[in-house]
């Protein structure tokens, strides 16, 4: 606390805040990662790679930025989140459970008959899921619709969305990008989970995404780039986005399979569950990290 507000004082304050932020959010990320691996391992199917790459993004949204009420999931003033890359559902479910939307016990029933946790997000079955996704390239449009609807009714709530690299090859993403830019939807913030891999291999070998920031800027978006595994960078970007008069794209540079050595940057773990033995190994690795 420097009464003069000198630059040195501010940086000390900032450093303290950052440390506090890390101390609060990083253990949650670690717990979510552990949950994700166990959920998919027990389910015997699912998408570990792209679930692990977006953990920090989801944790920063639900535990730092978004105004939401787990006990009242339909609170009209809540900020909304849309998981456009719906196959990362395990990460969303783990975060929703830890935020208090439902019991963590539900997580171990992922993808089972009768479970509230479907293979891809289902707004009618899972509290906290804002809209059903799974077929790629549609969630960002839905997020635009939410942002437009909230704007029409002068509701100050904000809308957040997460899209994937491979998903960016869907034309619908760019239709949504154009609409959001045109309407200057400043209440919309999207993340790109830029892990550079997709099912068939590296994006640059499948179909290159080109100059991603330039593309989004040309569609009328504010663009920021962050280390998608650094909670401080993500939180700062989210703060900054609130001041924007345009929609914001936060390109988060991430590692597919982050946090489990044998899954990191391993294309095969896009949509393959670990065996039970691999699961145990991965869980120990996360616990010891």
């Amino acid at each position: 606390m420097n009464p003069l507000g000198s630059p040195a004082g501010e940086s000390v304050l900032e450093a303290e805040e950052e440390r506090a932020l890390r101390e609060r959010l990083e253990p949650i990320c670690k717990g979510v990662r552990w949950d994700v691996v166990r959920m998919i391992g027990l389910a015997g199917s699912g998408h570990p790679g792209g679930s692990l790459s977006c953990v920090e993004i989801l944790v920063c949204l639900y535990f730092y930025k978004m105004r939401h009420r787990p006990s009242d999931p339909r609170w009209p003033e809540r900020d909304r989140f849309v998981l456009s890359k719906g196959h990362a559902a395990p990460a969303l479910y783990a975060v929703l459970a830890r935020a208090g939307y439902f019991s963590r016990e539900e997580l171990w029933k992922l993808r089972q008959w009768g479970s509230m946790l479907q293979g891809h997000p289902d707004m009618r079955r899972t509290p906290g899921v804002e809209i059903s996704t799974g077929s790629l390239g549609q969630g960002l449009s839905a997020a635009c619709g939410m942002a437009l609807g909230l704007r029409i009714q002068h509701n100050p709530a904000r809308v957040y969305a997460l899209i994937g690299d491979g998903e960016s090859q869907e034309g619908g993403i760019w239709e949504a990008a154009m609409l959001a830019g045109h309407h200057r939807l400043s209440n919309l913030v999207a993340f790109l989970d830029h892990n550079s891999l997709q099912i068939d291999g590296p994006c640059c070998e499948v179909v290159s995404l080109g100059d991603i920031p330039a593309k989004w800027r040309s569609f009328g978006w504010e663009v920021q780039e962050v280390d998608g595994h650094d909670v401080v960078e993500i939180c700062r970007a989210l703060d900054l986005a609130e001041a924007s008069e345009r929609p914001t794209m936060i390109v988060a540079h991430t590692v597919k399979g982050k946090g489990v050595s044998f899954m990191e940057n391993a294309v095969e773990f896009h949509g393959k569950a670990p065996t039970l033995e691999e699961m145990e190994r991965a869980l120990r690795e996360i616990e010891e990290s």
């Binding site: 009209p76 909304r80 849309v82 289902d122 707004m123 009618r124 804002e130 809209i131 059903s132 996704t133 799974g134 077929s135 390239g137 549609q138 969630g139 449009s141 839905a142 997020a143 635009c144 619709g145 939410m146 942002a147 437009l148 609807g149 909230l150 029409i152 009714q153 509701n155 034309g171 619908g172 239709e175 949504a176 154009m178 609409l179 045109h182």
Partner: protein, 316 residues
Amino acid sequence: MIPDKGSKHTRDAYAEALLELGEKDHRIVVMDADLAKSTQTERFKERFPERFIDCGVAEQNLMATAAGLATTGKIVFASSFAMFATGRAYDQVRNTIAYSHLNVKICATHGGITVGEDGSSHQALEDVALMRLIPGMRVVVPADYYEAREAVKAVAYLEGPFYIRLGRPKFPVLFDEDYRFRLGKAVMMRPGRDVTILACGIMVYNSLVAAEILAGEGIEAEVLNVHTIKPLDEEAILASASKTGRVVTCEDHSILGGLGGAVAELLSEKLPVPLRRVGIRDRFGASGGVEELMEHYGLTPGHVAEAARSVLGRAA
């Protein structure tokens, strides 16, 4: 004789219903995909610009954005041509609107071969079938201006997704100002005992003309306006079919999967009686005038009458 009440556009009915709805309910939001002049949603845009969203030529975005809007408590009417609303955006309609049973009313114009000169790329002949296959989607094909207007007003306050199919040309007027639309309840247009004619859309009028022709030959045709393809009015259809023992379906749509398909499914399971389907026989459309196309694709009153004679086992 069928009283001559002139003819009017079903899309004008749509526009007027939207204005009425928009006036009294601020939750009504209308969306289009660069066809507002054709679908007539432009009239809503002029009156309520803050509640009108044009997505540009991007029908997939139109449907998924409509879904998002609906989650904020809006009653969303999403319009385009039938071809693009159902074909181009099928995945969005199925997965993002219908799977979550969201409050989006898809009101498409330019359904059927009667689109005319624009030709095959713009003539949706499968749209009713596509929409009927989606769980929870209700499908309405109005027969005239008044039925279209009342159907639009009715579906606004029925929760969940709807597909309303309107036409490009003027449809002969069959009803009056006081017509009341009841979802899933077929309308008895003309009673008869020899053969049942089930029709929707512009083919209701043609079926009534056909019934006149048949009456001249001593055949009493019963004509039912089956405006709701889903949920189908099974009770009325089975009652009429059990009375006449002969059924003809008539639609400006493929004979596969639409009214004819739905009726065939119903009758084959519950009351197998001879059936003839009047409609597009698994072909693409083509350019031409409306009258010419109806002649070439077999949709005239003469074709309906011929199908009735055929199902009765009588030569022309």
